[in-house]
Amino acid sequence: MTDLVTDVLRQHAEDAFAAELAALAARDDRPRPERWRLSPWAVATYLLGGELDDGTVITPKYIGPRRVVEVAVTTLATDRALLLLGVPGTAKTWVSEHLAAAISGDSTLLVQGTAGTPEEAVRYGWNYARLLTDGPSREALVPSPLMRAMADGRIARVEELTRIPADVQDSLITILSEKTLPIPELGTETQAVRGFNVIATANDRDRGVNELSSALRRRFNTVVLPLPGSLEEEVDIVTRRVEQLGRSLQLPELPGGAQEIRRVVTVFRELRAGLTADGRTKVKTPSGTLSTAEAISVVTNGMALAAHFGDGVLRAGDVAAGVIGAVVRDPAADQQVWREYVEGVVRERDGWQDFYRAARENAR
């Protein structure tokens, strides 16, 4: 995958991991559902990582409970759609992209849910120039990603489902239950072929934005993506992602990374849990989510700082500002939380003096 050098800032999953997918497909002799590129077992292996009998190492894409991935993959093989729930930064989009890439070889059939997502994005639109000259016809119709996925028997993705207005959400119901998309203007319909399914993601935190109707909810199997269970797991996730991001951002490899990543993750976990890692001291919890994704961006940011303005070693000072930025979301309350944490916990900790000084210097 490294030899596929492109100028694209971020490659699609199916391109970035093309070699792994090909190796899996070659080795995979288990039954595959129709139009699936891989068997469910191979899809699960692709996400969770492992080693094939020919020695190909599959890197883990998702680090977390095996159960989550297995239920997700199995759901896509039944005729229910998959809803990935979780607080921001729990790799919902990441998992959905890789699932689509592994199953259909195509993660681009994507509807991004926003408050302004129109019905056309879910069903179909019209090419008005053709519509005016030729009248309504199949040729004048602009299919949505969902419609294309139905026709080709692939996986479509809907991001941030709960941000989509309720009336637009409802147009998903026919697609998911009848597996068909009527086109009343032409008096026809597009029927989904085998292999079609939908992965939707939604955010736990702002559930209330456009709560799913129970009719729609019923069409989904729900999988909740948890926050990483242990410090080691989270450090592992951050390290891997930072490495990948660093490569695509062409940042030089920096020494000192491991220690700072551990430190950032420790700070995030302690503040999230309201308890220090040794379980001895209570700390206050700030208003931000402090997700793993934020930890990743804090470290990446720190690496860029160290590479371009620092001495080429990732130091406490490079990440401290980022950490403060992530923690202090509400200038009044969070500032207080952070200061108490720095004075009460960081100051006393062995080997954290550099971080303490950096935190003091960066304090606003």
Binding site: P40, W41, R67, E70, V71, T78, R80, V223, V224
Partner: protein, 777 residues
């Protein structure tokens, strides 16, 4: 061994094993069935076929002279042993229990039984087998190859046992059995020999799979004797059947059997075909009853998902893990909260067994019966009242028994307000009423201990460890004291001290204090050591004192009302706590500061009127505040600059729990009247509910008098009021009562006469007796 003995190696409480045992026994038609279990149970095994015998049940054995040394052997419907017992008893085939007698383990002082049961097939051998088969989860592997396996038609019913025996034999080649195991196996071999000597031809032996290879060996009788020679002498043992629950089967420690999913196993055992649809339908029904929208479509999808998951994971059948994953994803919308319900009610389940009436009594039951006899307290279903004088030995013992039983959840006696109208701490009044279900509770409580006292201690310590709130614990301390459970106190106090040190919520602390103080006072009466208790109580009181003013600041109406109750209770408690370290004075200081904290800019900046008024009233009642000063404060609050709502709250706090004050000091009533008539009409409507609430709680007589006085005319001329009347005391007539008063108070007669001449302390102002705080306001 020869062909006439068939060894059926099982996993205890495995539904697959149970099914296999049933099939094997059906085919073998043995003329004797030997089961791994305590031989002491043989006389009562016949009860297993009784109509009222419903598993889960357990055999409970205990040393005859010390019920505390006890062991349990639990059986569920899906236990292979139970299947074998029923097979033998139903067909009249001789049934023998062949394990080492429980009497031997009791002699060693160990609890034996339950632990042994687990050790009979340790996790280890299965783990090693699973490892050999290339699986990382031994439990799951065993489920796949044994428990979930359904024999094909025409398959030899004995084949699975041969396979398991072979695997175990390989495992045990390198030893691995403890001395204990070897002794048990030697004993079992002896019993098998005896069965053969008795002339049985087809003998079936149901035992833990781990023991099969050892029972297949035939060492000489002398060798076995030598092994058994090291055993201690048996103690006399009594044994009985007790009802058991699925919940307790699932407990890993104590008397549980460590079965994670008895409810699921039960379902597997009961269902002949595919267990999934039936189980998921039950799960759907359960969730529906709890208002989760679950339709039949959900059940269908869940069944499909569970099967597909099993396929993905390479399992022959969907197991519990797959089923629960499917329930979570399809029915519970990914939520673990709803899943916990399914786990609790279906995977574990609430099944409660029952045993026939004629089963021998449980030791706890027997201990209770003994106590009932010696204390002459007969259990009777019709309620009756019982007054106890704790200074008498028998009555104190009765009280202890009732308190202990309450702790164990047997509410035979419920404390009631005394009929004798005595508030002394030497008296207790109970309402006794024996209900049939208590028998079950007692059987359930048997897990905590075998005598009432030990069970109560065990339960108290268990409850303390699980407690999360301070008030719960101080309540428990109080119960421990009145129930005289000195043994439990250190453990409970340790948890209490820890929790009290961590808790910073004043409301929690305030809720905890009164029970603790009551406990201290009881401790005084019963002569228990209470220094530790006193320290904790004093510490709590000081922390409440410090934390109270900030905690009272900026409360809304509901918060203030809740805090008022705490305020009253803490005040009462501190009054009782007494002590000479000046705690009462410091508390008065706190109340003063509370009363001073008026809101200056909006309600959030000060203590609500309700609490300030209350603080003033408490100070006034204690004689720490002049009535004139109280009047001045009332006037200040009622002045037009204050907010009327705040003032109404103040009045509520000031007057609640006794309005006689208004009658004694007509100036207060005058102030109030003047304020009320001056309130603007619009505000008056807002205040009306508050005022009505305040005045509705006053005593009827006070309300009448206040009403008639207000109706009678202007109130501001205080001198004409009844306070002036009260001043004209007929000294001669009052003096006649003095000796009696002195007698009541325990003063020497002379002192009474002397003090009669002087002005009594705080003369010139009426002391209003404190009345019970009206909680319902």
């Amino acid at each position: 061994m020869s062909a006439e003995v068939t060894l059926l190696g099982v996993r205890h409480h495995g539904p697959g094993s149970a099914r296999a045992v049933a099939a094997a026994l059906e085919r073998l038609r043995p003329d004797a069935v030997l089961v791994e279990g305590p031989p002491e149970a043989e006389p009562i095994l016949g009860l297993a076929a009784a109509k009222d015998m419903v598993p889960p049940v357990a055999l409970l054995a205990h040393a005859a002279d010390d019920p505390a040394r006890a062991a349990f052997w639990p059986y569920a419907e899906f236990s292979p042993e139970w299947v074998a017992i029923r097979h033998a008893v139903d067909r009249g085939v001789p049934l023998r229990f062949i394990d080492l007698p429980a009497g031997h383990s009791f002699a060693e002082g160990g609890d034996g039984g339950a632990e042994e049961e687990d050790a009979a097939l340790p996790r280890d051998p299965i783990a090693r087998l699973a490892e050999a088969a290339g699986h990382d989860d031994p439990e799951r592997w065993w489920e796949d190859v044994v428990e979930h396996r359904r024999p094909a038609d025409g398959e030899d019913a004995l084949a699975p046992f041969a396979a398991v025996a072979e695997a175990m034999a390989v495992l045990r080649e390198d030893g691995g059995a403890s001395l204990r195991d070897r002794q048990r196996e030697a004993y079992m071999r002896g019993r098998i020999r005896a069965a053969r000597r008795a002339g049985h031809h087809r003998i079936a032996v149901v035992c833990g799979a781990f023991h099969v290879p050892a029972l297949e060996r035939t060492p000489t009788v002398a060798e076995d004797r030598a092994l058994l020679a090291g055993l201690p002498k048996k103690v006399r043992t009594e044994i009985t059947w007790v009802p058991w629950t699925h919940r307790r089967l699932s407990q890993l420690s104590g008397y549980g059997a460590g079965i994670v999913s008895p409810g699921w196993y039960h379902h597997l055992h009961r269902t002949d075909g595919d267990p999934l649809p039936g189980w998921l339908t039950r799960a759907a029904g359960l969730l529906r009853a709890e208002d989760h929208p679950v339709s039949s479509a959900h059940v269908i999808e869940a069944v499909r998902l569970a099967r597909a998951l099993a396929g993905l994971r390479g399992r022959p059948l969907a197991g519990l893990t797959e089923t629960l994953d499917a329930v979570r994803a399809v029915m519970c919308e990914g939520s673990d909260v709803a899943l916990a319900l399914v786990r609790d009610r279906l995977v574990i389940g609430d099944a409660l067994g029952s045993v026939p009436e004629d089963a021998p009594a449980v030791p706890l039951q027997r201990d209770l019966a003994r106590l009932q006899r010696t204390l002459r307290l007969k259990p009777a279903p019709e309620p009756r009242e019982l007054d106890l004088d704790l200074r008498k030995e028998t009555d104190a013992a009765r009280s202890r028994l009732l308190h202990r039983l309450r702790l164990l959840g047997v509410d035979w006696g419920v404390p009631v307000r005394s009929q004798v109208a005595s508030t002394g701490t030497f008296r207790e009044s109970w309402r006794l009423c024996w209900q049939q279900e208590f028998a079950v509770r007692i059987a359930e409580a048997a897990q905590w201990g075998t005598t009432v006292e030990r069970a109560a201690v065990g339960k108290a310590v268990g409850t303390a460890r699980a407690a999360a709130e301070l008030a719960e614990l101080t309540g428990l301390v109080e119960t421990c004291l009145v129930a005289d459970l000195a043994e439990a106190l250190p453990a409970v106090m340790r948890v209490l001290a820890d929790l009290a040190a961590l808790d910073t919520d004043v409301a929690h602390l305030a809720r905890a204090l009164p029970a603790l103080v009551r406990a201290l006072r009881y401790g005084d009466v019963r002569g228990t050591d209470h220094t530790a208790l006193g320290e904790v109580a004093g510490g709590l009181a000081d922390r409440i004192r410090v934390g109270l003013p900030p905690a009272c600041t900026g409360l809304d109406a509901a918060g203030a009302a809740a805090m008022r109750v705490h305020l009253d209770e803490v005040h009462g408690a501190i009054g009782l706590l007494g002590g000479d370290d000046g705690l009462a004075d410091r508390w008065a200081g706190t109340l003063r500061s509370l009363a001073r904290r008026e809101p200056t800019g909006g309600p959030a900046t000060g203590v609500p009127g309700l609490l300030r008024g209350r603080a003033v009233r408490l100070l006034l009642d204690d004689g720490r505040l002049d009535p004139a000063e109280a009047g001045r404060r009332l006037g200040l609050v009622l002045s037009t600059a204050g907010s009327p709502a705040d003032a109404a709250g103040w009045i509520e706090g000031f007057l609640s729990g006794g309005g006689t004050l208004l009658l004694h000091d007509p100036r207060l009533l005058g102030l109030l009247d003047a304020w009320l008539t001056g309130v603007p009409a619009a505000v008056f409507t807002d205040l009306l509910p508050l005022l009505r609430r305040t005045f509705a709680t006053l005593e009827a007589g006070v309300r009448h008098t206040v009403g008639s006085r207000v109706a009678a005319g202007p109130l501001d001329s205080g001198d004409a009021g009844p306070a002036a009347e009260a001043a004209e005391v007929d000294l001669a007539r009052a003096g006649a009562a003095l000796p009696v008063v002195a007698l009541l108070l325990g003063l020497p007669a002379g002192a009474a006469a002397g003090s009669g001449a002087e002005a009594p302390p705080g003369a010139g102002r009426p002391r209003i007796p404190r009345q019970a705080g009206g909680r319902d306001t």
